[in-house]
Symmetry: C2
């Protein structure tokens, strides 16, 4: 069972979480609980590290000490939940990353878990004790605290579920499952009973912030069955059909062609006009952006109709847009394009479904539905199980609703 | 160097502390710094543990998890100070109790340090790195976090100074040294250049809250030279005569008969009248109080003039007064005293000095000075280097000033 920051934001909510955990334990389950820091605490801690200032010249990177400070938030929650479980009559104890240990690499602030040495942890659980584990943290081989990056508690939970060979990893969050699309946009959005790892990965990478991408990758590679459900569920209302199960495609009996419609407004479109049409041009541009850690997403290149030059369009994250334009302009003389422009008034809308692998006509349905509503498609990109289109931002809701209806997603359930 | 909670209460004060540490390091000193939690943080954390509620019947004590929660405060400060030192151009890293390790017993919440295994720590310092150590915490043999109790960071600092064979342990606090008496009561109070461990112990146990008693005991047994000084000193104003040195009696050349006048308003006087005068009576009473962890201090027994019964008077801490009276009344039938009463309107005033061992007349001077001011002495107790009197609370300031003058303490310096 994993609970995020809003679920453990204060002593009352921690008591709520303890009741949920106790109810599951009383059903006879052996339980490990992974907790995040109380909502707001991580931000407070990060602000203090910022106030310390950047390291002086010649001094080693800050990130190891950043981790020391920030990891304290999960330590507090783990101790408090263990105390609260005992107050409710349960045997419980807390475990820090270094106590288990959860071995992480030394990429402080965004470390990856290398191993979970779960023998002592498993023995304690077998002994009848609920294990309350500080999420988001591990320990390096040198004995330093390392954090996994924002949202890393999901990854902690999946890694521990894998190490303990748990029957399931339940991620409690502020939504009651994974939906066919954002219910704030489409009221007829339906909760999915099951979704495949691959689909969940696409959803996560497209901005549906239910699970951290890395946690889904890990669940897929370790074959951990994950359940997404609401931390506001009452213990008495819990059943096997609560929430959404994220699992292997083969465990989903009723296959759908499309499982969901996702959208993201975090994109910016960059267009380069009048590019010389010879090899190596795009390589120069994308190397420059890649070296600066700018993630480039959708890319389209086309020859301009009336000349020997080409045009190129691609998307980057909105927060990288200004920086990307500076980098590109610094290449103007070398590369020799005529004009570069950025458009932040765009949105990416995607349909996702493992059924696309074996079904044709998915794209046709998508483009038809959008055309019917007069939505102009600026860029298209596809993967094996996803089609994404870039459109003008103002059409986002209209497009999402049109696609949700076109694939019959309001009929699921 | 050890800094308490008010010295590291926010990023600005941590930056101040970093400047003090950096200045000492630039003089060529190798430095370990011990820090407390930011002022107020420990109280916040304790309040959260209280909110969790008491453990249910049959569930193990809370104190191990209390320690997990509360120890996080020092972790935050240690990380932040290491970051801030780096921002000021110094090499630094933080050390948690479990990383050094500081081995503590498992008396959670009030653990004692059993060993400081300082090899790795010492090697890091020898390598040119300032060690920033989370105070107040250790790790048990089972790998659990244990805290040393309130004020335990002083003890951490002394233990680490001993393990590293440091030339001195500088305790930075909100006063600039140890005074002949409380300067808020007597403006002519003088800062002592040196004070012996034994005198400091008596001062600490009498409520002069400069150093935690256990830290002074440890300094005495390990022969660690301690210096008490203000954390508000400017780096440029630091010299060998800053603050007060706490050291072995033999290192103090100019011996004084009396070094200081201390007082405490935390006492309550309990009187039992008409006690049967036969053996075992006082044993019954003090066993009862001892079993309930009530600390009994000054004791006087006297035979009543006109009968075969005795009267007995003793003091307890004010916070234990009501509980003590309940315990005593529960013994009334068994012991057979006539009447018990409590008086909380009292204060204990003490004169302290190692010179008492070899000088007579100290008590005579004390009683004379108090008699001159019309201060009535209710109870007297003495140790080898201390005389304490219990008086009516209203006379506290008058008595302190009279004794300060009587022993010429305003002439020191």
């Amino acid at each position: 069972m994993k609970f995020g920051g809003t679920s453990v934001a204060d002593p009352e909510r921690i008591a709520r979480v303890a009741r949920l955990v106790a109810a599951e334990a009383r059903k006879g389950h052996e339980i490990a609980v992974v907790v995040s820091a109380m909502a707001g605490k991580t931000n407070e801690l990060v602000a203090w590290t910022d106030a310390a200032g950047p390291p002086a010249d010649g001094i080693a990177l800050n990130d190891d000490e950043y981790d020391v400070v920030v990891a304290s938030g999960e330590q507090v929650t783990a101790g408090l939940l263990a105390l609260t479980l005992r107050a409710q009559g349960m045997q419980a104890r807390s475990w820090m990353g270094w106590q288990i240990p959860i071995i992480a690499d030394d990429a402080h602030g965004r470390a990856r878990i290398e191993a979970v040495e779960a023998d002592a942890l498993g023995a304690a659980i077998d002994g009848g004790q609920i294990a309350v584990i500080a999420g988001f943290q591990g320990v390096t081989k040198d004995g330093r605290i390392a954090t996994l990056g924002r949202g890393g508690s999901d990854t902690s939970a999946v890694a521990i579920a894998a190490a303990l060979k748990a029957i399931r990893c339940d991620i409690y969050t502020d939504v009651d499952g994974v939906y066919t699309t954002d219910p704030r946009i489409e009221q007829r959005a339906r909760r999915l009973a099951k979704i495949s790892y691959e689909e969940m990965l696409e959803m996560a990478s497209l901005g549906a912030k239910v699970l951290q991408t890395r946690s889904v990758e890990l669940a897929m590679s370790q074959r951990v069955t994950v359940r997404v459900l609401s931390s506001f569920v009452e213990p008495g209302d819990m059943s096997d059909t609560t929430g959404t199960i994220v699992c292997d495609e083969e465990e989903i009996v009723e296959k759908r062609i499309v499982s969901g419609v996702a959208y993201s407004r975090d994109e910016a479109k960059i267009s380069l006009l009048g590019l010389p049409d010879h090899p190596g041009v795009s390589s120069k541009i994308f190397s420059k952006l890649g070296d600066a850690n700018v993630n480039v997403d959708m890319i389209v290149q086309s020859r301009a109709r009336t000349s020997e030059t080409a045009n190129m369009t691609f998307t980057v994250g909105k927060r990288d847009a200004a920086r990307s334009m500076d980098l590109i302009r610094s290449l103007q003389t070398e590369v020799g394009f005529e004009h570069a422009e950025v458009d932040e008034d765009v949105a990416k809308v995607s349909v996702i479904g493992v059924g696309m692998r074996s079904h044709t006509g998915v794209a046709k349905t998508m483009f038809g539905a959008l055309a019917d509503k007069g939505v102009n498609i600026q860029v298209i990109s596809t993967s094996e199980i996803k089609i994404s289109v870039l459109i003008e931002a103002a059409y986002t809701e209209l497009a999402v609703r049109a696609l949700h209806a076109a694939y019959g997603l309001d009929q699921i359930g």
